[in-house]
């Protein structure tokens, strides 16, 4: 989600809430004989408000599970998640008097800091990366379907190359009487297309087929262009179309690889953010119950 003008209301509201909370905290911290404490009335108030903010932020996941419910727009939920989640950190700091306290509260504070920090990191990525991806990955596809599309690209490339190089897995040898004629045909094909066949089987196909294959010559667009240009000089002009097609397929593969890399950046932080958020809410409940009960 981009942080744009539509966030202005949330930003202003968050600043007001933060200002009011800061003013209350400063007055409270300076006048409280025992100093700021989570167990005092105002400290508890900060704790309750901060925890409610966290719960609201956590409800975004639940809201996504039931998109058909009329519970406000998804974008509003996301904005609330962003801003109230961010506000929960200073409010909880006010609750704790900027101390980490005991074992459970220290764990909670560390979790909160990690969750908020990862959330900020994710928000920044979500703000800046989509436009970059639009420019740099015009062939972007659904992340989960990349392997499937990649298989299609390989099949397409195989079909093109087999037309001139023959099948990659030739049928079993023919009966003895027809052996010579068969061999003569293959030899004819091979002599004109050997550079293409060798280049495809040795370089292009492994590059298209397997993401883990690192091919410096094909991984960079400029180098790949030079390599393909060199290949063209070795081939008759009627094969240049195939070379061009293979070059396009390699470009698609490069974009898929870039998309995978960007996707890991764009969503990898959620591996930390989501599980730790759930743990935070769970342990926060335990802390709240124990604190309010005793």
């Amino acid at each position: 989600m981009r942080i744009d003008r539509t966030h202005r209301t949330w930003l202003i509201a968050s600043l007001i809430i933060l200002s009011v909370a800061s003013a209350i905290y400063l007055a409270y911290a300076q006048t409280s004989p025992s100093g700021p404490s989570g167990g005092s009335g105002i400290g508890l108030m900060f704790g309750v408000v901060g925890f409610l903010f966290m719960i609201f932020a956590g409800l975004l996941a639940a809201r996504k599970k039931v998109p058909v419910w009329r519970l406000g727009r998804a974008q509003s939920w996301m904005r609330g998640h962003l801003w109230l989640g961010l506000l929960s950190l200073p409010i909880i700091f006010f609750h704790a008097g900027f101390r980490f306290g005991g074992l459970l509260t220290t764990v909670l504070m560390v979790l909160l800091i990690i969750v908020v920090a990862s959330g900020i990191f994710g928000a920044v990525l979500q703000h800046y990366m989509p436009p970059v991806m639009t420019v740099r990955i015009p062939m972007e596809t659904i992340f989960e379907q990349i392997d499937r599309v990649r298989e299609q690209l390989v099949a397409e490339a195989d079909a093109m190359v087999e037309e001139v190089c023959g099948p990659r897995n030739p049928p079993p040898p023919a009966p003895a009487g027809s052996k010579r004629g068969r061999a003569a045909t293959m030899t004819t094909i091979a002599t004109t297309t050997i550079p293409l066949c060798n280049f495809y089987n040795g370089e292009v196909r492994p590059f298209l087929q397997n993401e883990s294959i690192q091919n410096p010559a094909l991984a960079a667009r400029a180098k790949a262009a030079a390599v393909f240009e060199g290949l063209r000089t070795l081939l008759p002009s009627d094969l240049h179309t195939i070379v061009h097609n293979l070059e396009e397929l390699c470009e698609e593969e490069r974009q898929f690889r870039r998309q995978i890399r960007y996707h890991h950046w764009l969503h990898g932080w959620l591996m930390l953010h989501v599980p730790l958020s759930l743990a935070l809410l769970l342990l926060g409940c335990a802390h709240a119950i124990m604190a309010l009960r005793y």
């Binding site: 004989p33 101390r99 980490f100 005991g102 459970l104 596809t141 659904i142 379907q145 396009e248 599980p275």
Partner: protein, 444 residues
Amino acid sequence: MARAKLTTKTLAQRIDLDYFKHPHPFRRARSILSIAIPVIALLWLGWYALGRNNRVYSAGKMSSAHAVLTAKCSSCHVKEANSFSAKATDRSCDTCHSAPFHHANQTFTPICASCHLEHRGHLRLAVTADITCTQCHADLHTVGAPTQFTAEITRFNGGHPEFAILRNRGSDPGTIKLNHLVHLKHDLRGPNGPVQMDCEDCHRTVRPPAGWRFGSPQAQDATIAQTGIPPSLDTGRAYMSPVTYAKHCIACHGLQFDGRFQESAPHDTAEVIHAFLVQKFQRYIPNHPAELRVLAPHRNIPQKPIPPDVRVLTPQEWVDLRVAESEELLWRKTCAQCHALRFATNATLPTVVKSNIPQRWFQHAVFNHDAHKFQQCVECHVGAPKSKETSDVLLPGIQTCEKCHRGGREAAESRCFECHTYHDWKNEKPVKGTFTLSASAIGN
């Protein structure tokens, strides 16, 4: 062969429309983590619950003094209805501590835990915030009689009045005639020649022990019997050893009373001295009977010489005469050099006015000389080298303290607790221990 043109349609045809039914490993890993980590968190809490260990819910590290009780929450958090109460009650504190209340006429008594904040790490519990004091002293109200203290004290730097004795331009109540200027002058006549006296020759704490330069070898140091001092303060190091004749004066200020004796008179009451003198002369005269012959004062009349008038005294008459002469010397000169003596009309012996040397100037605060030993004495007691009168108050003013105790990170402590103690330790009561070593080691 040219590739088919990539249109939205052709691109869409690449996609398996049921792809979302088969989660990607990336998403699956996130789901697994989203279940695993909260479950681990629950197991972690459950582990403590199974062990009936509530330390996980502790609000923070215990203070150094109470660290040994970390595993024994119930020491302070008394169990109520089989559960721990969040607040440590005063009753729990009183189990181990006798902490007398502040003043009988205070308007309210805060609970122990509101000033001595526990679970804040390895801190000294006696270190309390100024606000714990100023919540009353910033606008002091009392129950019953109006307060005799300054009613508005907000902090030490700028919010604290001058010390009472200086504020009221009081004088030293001591009656010993002491001239600091004379005692600190160069080439002062000492017992064995000229000396240069130093402050430490008379003013030093009891600990560490050391002999006194101008004192009797038999003179014993004694700490000041003070009340209202917190138990944590070592008075032997904090306060100056009381100035006494035996420790500080005897070497120079001998109490010779008669040329016949090298011995000094005792430094005691007039009655004791009188008895001493009588005894001395009574023992002397039997061995020197010739001294009973006493010449009358010579009368020198021109042109008419008169033979000397010789009288022979009885031993008692001689003793009375010598005692009277010695006492005249002592009462009028030797003793009177330092002491004030009162001569009642009907009494034969004077009374020595009580020396009344203040041992502790701040009756409502504590001061620790040991903590200030790195300073030269005259840095604070500026007036001492020039003082001529006993009545001079040589106590430094609050501005002197504020030179170091000025607040802030790069200054000495300036919070209230540094000098003042809330508890009236005069009313401290003995505490009977209730803990056992084995119980202290068991959790909860």
